[in-house]
Each structure stands twice: as structure tokens, then as C-alpha cells.
């Protein structure tokens, strides 16, 4: 009995060594460049797992009354996965603010969740830009009672956004510059829909999210909410890939180029009414 346990331990160790050697070989292949870029690396359980905060319509959300993730991101990923010949699955993350850590901890193969490309995020993970820049949408009650049409108009107001989004960073920056004398009272929520509800209830004066998301919320509000003029800096969305999986990154980039080339990309954007926001450098 004891002997066989030692034996299996030895086998396990051998397997680990084999894996390490294999991984090292993989890196070597990489340096050669070229090859078939569309050939994705081996995936665990043969499926590309995508971490996402699936509460950000129309970019990603659960179809009403179902557990099916739908949205712009889901359609783009479906097209990429088809190019690569792999299955994929969107998985709800615990906390959007923790999505970079989830990816680094290999909880998912990639993360795709309307993630704006920022230098802070790029220091941690690789981001493949695929959409936008979309701009920030300022959601306000119908009639825009606070007459918001510039960043300065937000100073002194109570403004909500989802924790971990670039919009929180923007407001923090405004409070150090434009709004230094009359800071924004920044209210943060773990998810976007809760902060939109806070605006509907009138507890906050405005709510910030990415432009397509704000526009969608306005559309769903039966005229209670509108998007005030924007003009905020913004960044394109990126698909997050671990820095230690360059093969996967290359494969996804090649697939993206392919779906842009064959028109699939444009038809997806058109389906979601976002044809003006095709990614451009």
C-alpha cells in the first residue's frame, strides 16, 4: 500500500516535470513566429472560458428570464471562437473590480467585460482592443434638471458609477483638477444596474457608464432617463489575456483580424446599433 503511494507520487512528479518541459518547449516555438496563428493553444476541458460581469447591457447581459449571456461581447466572442474552432462559455465573475485578479489567477482563459484599456490594467494583463473608444455616457433624469453638458457641471453633484470602472477613475481625477474646489460626491456600487436604479429613485444626480450602456439604460427607462452630452475621454475595450499566454493572444488577434476582414465584425456591431464604434487605432 505504502509502496504504491510512493509510486503514484513519483508519477505525479514526473507529470509535473513533463508539463514544465512541455511549457518551455511551447515558449521556444513562439520565438519562431509565423506558423498558423489561428491555431489556439490547448485549452483546459477544450473550452475557452470567458470571465465577465454579465450585468452591463447591451455589452453583456442575461437574456431576460434566462441564464443565457447575450450582448455585443458575447457575439464577438462567438465569432472569434468559431474562427478558432473552439467552444466558449461566459462565466459571471464575483466582482468586476476583481476581474484582473481573477484572470491572473487563471480562473478563466480570458476576460471580456467592456474592459477599457488603461495603462494600469495593461501593467497587469494584456488587452486586445476590439471595440470603441465608446466614450462615457452621463445618464440623467429626463429634462436634465442639473443642466449637465460638460465635466465641470458634475462638480458638486452626487454622481454614481460602478466600482472598478474607468468612470470612477475619471471622477477621482476631476476631483483633483476641475472639481477641486467643489468636488463630486462619488457614489460607488458593486454593479451598474443598482446605480442606475439609484438615479431613477433620485438619490443621485447623474450616473456614469460607457456610452452604449448609458444609451441602453435610457432606452429601457420609458423616457425617465436620458443621456446628457458626453465629451469624456475614453478608451477602447480590450479582451484581457494573461501575459503568460502569448499564443492565445496571437490566436485571438488573428481571429479578430479575420472577422473584421470577412465582415462578421461589422454585422455584429450593426446588430447592436454600434456601427459607429468599430475599433480604430
Amino acid at each position: 500500500m505504502k509502496g504504491s503511494r510512493n509510486w503514484s507520487l513519483l508519477l505525479a512528479l514526473a507529470a509535473v516535470f513533463a508539463l514544465v518541459l512541455f511549457a518551455a518547449c511551447g515558449d521556444d516555438d513562439d520565438d519562431d513566429g509565423g506558423g498558423d496563428a489561428l491555431n489556439p493553444p490547448e485549452l483546459d476541458d477544450g473550452k475557452l472560458t470567458v470571465g465577465s460581469d454579465i450585468a452591463y447591457p447591451p455589452i453583456e447581459y442575461y437574456e431576460e428570464g434566462t441564464q443565457n449571456a447575450v450582448g455585443l461581447d458575447v457575439d464577438i466572442m462567438a465569432a472569434l471562437a468559431e474562427e478558432l474552432g473552439v467552444e466558449f462559455e461566459f462565466i459571471q465573475v464575483a466582482d468586476f473590480a476583481g476581474i484582473v485578479g481573477d484572470l491572473k489567477a487563471s480562473r478563466y482563459d480570458v476576460v471580456m467585460s467592456a474592459i477599457s484599456v488603461t495603462s494600469e490594467r495593461e501593467a497587469e494583463i494584456d488587452l486586445i482592443p476590439y471595440f470603441g473608444p465608446a466614450g462615457t455616457g452621463v445618464l440623467v433624469p429626463a429634462g436634465n434638471p442639473e443642466a449637465i453638458d460638460s465635466v465641470e457641471d458634475l462638480c458638486g453633484l452626487t454622481v454614481g458609477a460602478q466600482v472598478g470602472t474607468v468612470q470612477v477613475d475619471y471622477m477621482t481625477e476631476f476631483n483633483e483638477n476641475e472639481c477641486a474646489d467643489n468636488p463630486i460626491d462619488i457614489k460607488t456600487y458593486p454593479d451598474n444596474p443598482t446605480s442606475v436604479q439609484e438615479l431613477t429613485l433620485g438619490r443621485i444626480d447623474a450616473q456614469l457608464s460607457d456610452d452604449p450602456v448609458a444609451a441602453y439604460a435610457a432606452l429601457q427607462s420609458n423616457g425617465e432617463l436620458i443621456v446628457a452630452s458626453t465629451g469624456f475621454d475614453s478608451a477602447p475595450y480590450g479582451i484581457g489575456v494573461r501575459k503568460d499566454s502569448p499564443e492565445l493572444k496571437m490566436a485571438l488577434e488573428a481571429a479578430l483580424a479575420a472577422i473584421i476582414e470577412n465582415g462578421t465584425y461589422d454585422s455584429i456591431l450593426e446588430k447592436w446599433g454600434q456601427e459607429d464604434l468599430a475599433y480604430s487605432e
Partner: protein, 259 residues
């Protein structure tokens, strides 16, 4: 000794030290304490009231208190918080009401009412632990029902009620973290706010954990003290893990006989 190891493990103790007394964290900790203390006070008051209703001989009062415990112990506190904060304003549809019901107040009210259901059961158990002969004796001395309850039964019940109440308060301190769902930046929310920007997840979570441990440690010492004072008449005064540790360190005996 430990630091090189921690560095190899990608855990930055300097980040922990930098944020331990960060303004956002300290403010969050203060919010946590306020919510927990005020909600626990509401919970104890409601628990006392509803427990008296439960043990009273009035049928309608029994039913009301029974319904209260049934509902608030039977649904998740997060759900109750959302019903109060997001749901109720939709129904009431009055802007003053909505504005006055801030996340801070909603958390205190929701946690307080929820806690009251548990405290009702705890106080009821305390009352039942006092022999019925005590009530009869008090009445034979001419005390009225409520008088006997207040002077004879409740003081004796308190000895049974205090330890689980301390447990409840410690749970309250920690469970108040779910108030971040409605945007209240308490201790855990503060840590999440910071790690959403600097990506040092574990370090910030450790910072929050250290604060919670500090709170619960101080509170455990206080609770131990209260229990010792309430143990009048007992042959051996109860000790807590912490009071024993302190006594051990100061060279005193582990248990102490009442003079």
C-alpha cells in the same frame, strides 16, 4: 525572517502597511462600527419587546411576535436590505422619503430589524431559563406581572442572554459588509474600492481583516468583563479565552474564586 518568503509569494507587506491607516479604510471602519452598534441596539430593543410579546398570555401579541420572527429570520438579510432601500421607495414614491432613506440609515434599519428577530429568540430562551417559581414568588410578594418580569426574571435571564448577544454583535460587525451592495462604503467596500484601482487584492483584504480582528478582539474583552460582572453568586467566575490569556501573561491564576 518572514519577509523574503512573502516577497516570493507575491504578497507585499509594504502595501498592507501603507493602507492600514489609509483615510478611505479608516472611514470605512468607522462606518462599520456605527452601523453595527446602532443596528445591534435596535435589535436588542426589538428582541426584548417581541420576546415579552411571545411569552405573554395574549394570543394576538403571540401571533404578531411569531410572524415577525418567522418573516425576518426566514428571509436573507440582503433581500431585506434591498427591499427597504430599493423596493420601498418605488412603492412610496415620495422624493423626501427616498432622500432621507440614505444607504447608511437603510443599513442600520434593515440590520437592526433583522437582528431583532434573532434577539427575540435569544431573550425568550433567557426568560424561559428562569424557573417559573421565581415569577410566582415575586407575585406572592405583591409584584405585578411586568414588575416581576423587570425586577426578578429579566436580571436572571441576562446571564443567559449576554453570551449569545455578544456572538450576535460579532456577527453583525462582519455581516454589515453586505451593505456595500447598496453603495455604502464600509470596511470591506473600502478595501474593494482601493483594490479596484491598484490590483493588490489580497493585501487590501488583509488590511480589512486586521481591522475586523481588532474590533472583535476589543469587543471580546469587553464582553468577558460584562460576563464576569453578571456572574454574581456563581461559585466560579467564567473566564474568556482572552481574559485567561491576559491573566496568564500577567502571571495571575487562570480562574478566580469569588471572595
Amino acid at each position: 525572517m518572514l519577509e523574503p518568503l512573502l516577497l516570493a509569494l507575491d504578497f507585499r507587506t509594504d502595501v498592507v502597511r501603507r493602507f492600514l491607516f489609509d483615510d478611505v479604510i479608516v472611514e470605512g471602519a468607522w462606518v462599520t462600527i456605527q452601523v453595527a452598534v446602532l443596528a445591534q441596539i435596535i435589535g436588542i430593543s426589538l428582541g426584548l419587546g417581541f420576546a415579552l410579546m411571545l411569552v405573554s398570555r395574549s394570543r394576538p401579541l403571540n401571533v404578531i411576535a411569531g410572524f415577525y420572527v418567522w418573516f425576518f429570520r426566514g428571509t436573507p438579510v440582503l433581500l431585506q436590505l434591498l427591499i427597504l432601500y430599493i423596493g420601498l421607495p418605488q412603492m412610496v414614491d415620495d422624493q423626501t422619503f427616498t432622500n432621507e432613506l440614505t444607504a447608511f440609515r437603510a443599513a442600520i434599519i434593515a440590520f437592526g430589524i433583522n437582528e431583532g428577530a434573532y434577539m427575540t429568540e435569544i431573550v425568550r430562551a433567557g426568560i424561559l431559563s428562569v424557573e417559573s417559581g421565581q415569577m410566582d414568588a415575586a407575585k406572592s410578594l405583591g409584584m405585578r406581572q411586568m414588575q416581576a418580569m423587570r425586577r426578578i426574571v429579566l436580571p436572571q435571564a441576562s446571564r443567559v442572554v449576554v453570551p449569545p448577544t455578544g456572538n450576535e454583535f460579532i456577527a453583525m460587525l462582519k455581516n454589515s459588509s453586505i451593505a456595500f451592495t447598496i453603495g455604502l462604503v464600509e470596511l470591506t467596500g473600502a478595501a474593494r474600492l482601493i483594490y479596484s484601482v491598484n490590483f493588490r487584492y489580497l493585501e487590501l483584504l488583509v488590511v480589512a481583516a486586521l481591522w475586523y480582528l481588532a474590533f472583535t478582539t476589543v469587543f471580546s474583552i469587553l464582553q468577558g468583563e460584562v460576563e464576569r460582572r453578571l456572574a454574581f453568586g456563581d461559585r466560579e467566575r467564567p473566564t474568556t479565552f482572552i481574559s485567561r490569556t491576559i491573566e496568564l501573561l500577567s502571571g495571575k491564576r487562570g480562574t478566580e474564586m469569588v471572595k
